[in-house]
């Protein structure tokens, strides 16, 4: 029967694809802490505008490792989780550098808003480590409640095949 040669090939293909990137992983190092002091608030107020507050260029380093090959494609999605985030205050992130690695990397040069529903941060292929991320806060004004406002930022690694 001719199908005896096709079915094993399909089975092999299934196994090969289902075991792709067995050790692929994503890790973030660092955190984002924004201190909005009185002087900044006064400047924002005197400017009669709600100014963005931009943090350090590499507050957080993102790494994607363990991909099966330099052509193994992936994407990273980012979302905001938990915390009592003030109304009107928005959190943004951008990729301020390329990191290192043989893999390709694209997207996220401009600031992207981090929402609870999640959004695409960047696309890549293969391993890429030390991708610097920079954060921006908008909606800060005298009307932002005094005190500490915290939110979790979650990153998800999703493979998209070769």
């Amino acid at each position: 029967m001719k199908t005896t040669g096709v079915l094993p090939a399909i089975a092999l293909a299934l196994c090969a694809l289902s075991t792709e990137s067995p050790a692929a992983g994503l890790a973030v190092m660092g955190s984002c802490q924004v201190m909005v002091g009185p002087q900044w608030l006064i400047q924002a107020t005197r400017g009669r505008a709600t100014l963005p507050y931009t943090g350090e260029p590499a507050a957080v380093l993102l790494s994607v490792t363990g991909m099966s090959s330099p052509l193994a494609g992936w994407r990273v999605e980012v979302r905001r989780e938990g915390g009592a985030w003030p109304e009107g205050m928005k959190l943004w992130v951008r990729r301020s550098g390329d990191g290192v690695g043989a893999g390709r990397l694209s997207g996220a040069h401009g600031f992207t808003e981090i929402t609870p529903s999640g959004t695409l941060l960047c696309l890549g292929q293969g391993d890429r480590t030390g991708i610097p991320l920079q954060f921006r806060i908008t909606g800060l004004s005298l009307h932002a409640p005094v005190g500490a406002h915290m939110a979790g930022v979650s990153y998800g690694l999703i493979t998209i095949g070769e």
Partner: protein, 201 residues
């Protein structure tokens, strides 16, 4: 079935030696039945749609902390104001005014007021200040208010309200100083250190 297409080498003997030519064979799939093709297509489709190809492999997270400091700021534009009083011979009294100063304030707190006072205890020439033309910005949704100016205040060492009802706002107003004197008081000079304070009621 490692290859669907293959090439076959053919040896022939010519006048000047062996001739080697290559000829493509016919595709082996020619004989594949419709059922097998359907099966193959279905299998490939299943592979493409399986979660293993499009799955979240790993995730990580960190915390973002935004700390907003308390702000209660007030400042006056002019460091020094000079008033020279000329006595009216007809009335035996006189006054001088100056409206060159501006008062600015900003707060991210609720229920604030601005008070004014002088450090001078003994005053021969009464000094007054009037706040007027309050402007600025405040967000109404959170009960913001840029404040309301009261009437003219005669300065003393006791703090008195000048602008009240300030909340989550920045504002400014004009200040008008007025000093008075009469012939009953000897000529001279009085200096005041006038202090404005943004405080809670």
């Amino acid at each position: 079935m490692p290859h669907l297409m293959c090439r076959r080498k053919r040896h022939e003997e010519g006048p000047q030696g062996p001739i080697i030519t290559w000829r493509d064979s016919e595709p082996r799939t020619k004989g594949m039945s419709l059922i097998m093709r359907t099966l193959l297509f279905t299998a490939v489709l299943a592979v493409l749609l399986t979660p293993a190809v499009f799955a979240q492999l790993d995730s990580d997270s960190h915390i973002v902390t935004v700390t907003v400091d308390a702000l209660d700021a007030v400042d006056v534009s002019d460091a020094q104001v000079d008033l020279v009083i000329a006595i009216n011979l007809g009335t035996g009294a006189g006054q001088a005014t100056d409206s060159s100063s501006t008062l600015n304030w900003a707060t991210n707190g609720a229920a604030r007021r601005i008070t004014v006072q002088t450090d001078r205890g003994t005053i021969n020439y009464p000094l007054y200040v009037l706040a007027s033309g309050v402007s600025g910005s405040a967000t109404p949704g959170v009960g913001g208010s840029r404040g309301t100016a009261g009437g003219e205040v005669q300065l003393s060492t006791t703090a008195q309200s000048l602008v009240t009802g300030i909340a989550y706002a920045d504002g400014n107003c004009s200040l008008t100083y007025r000093a008075t004197a009469t012939v009953a008081v000897a000529p001279g000079t009085e200096s005041h250190n006038v202090t404005y304070t943004l405080t809670t009621p």
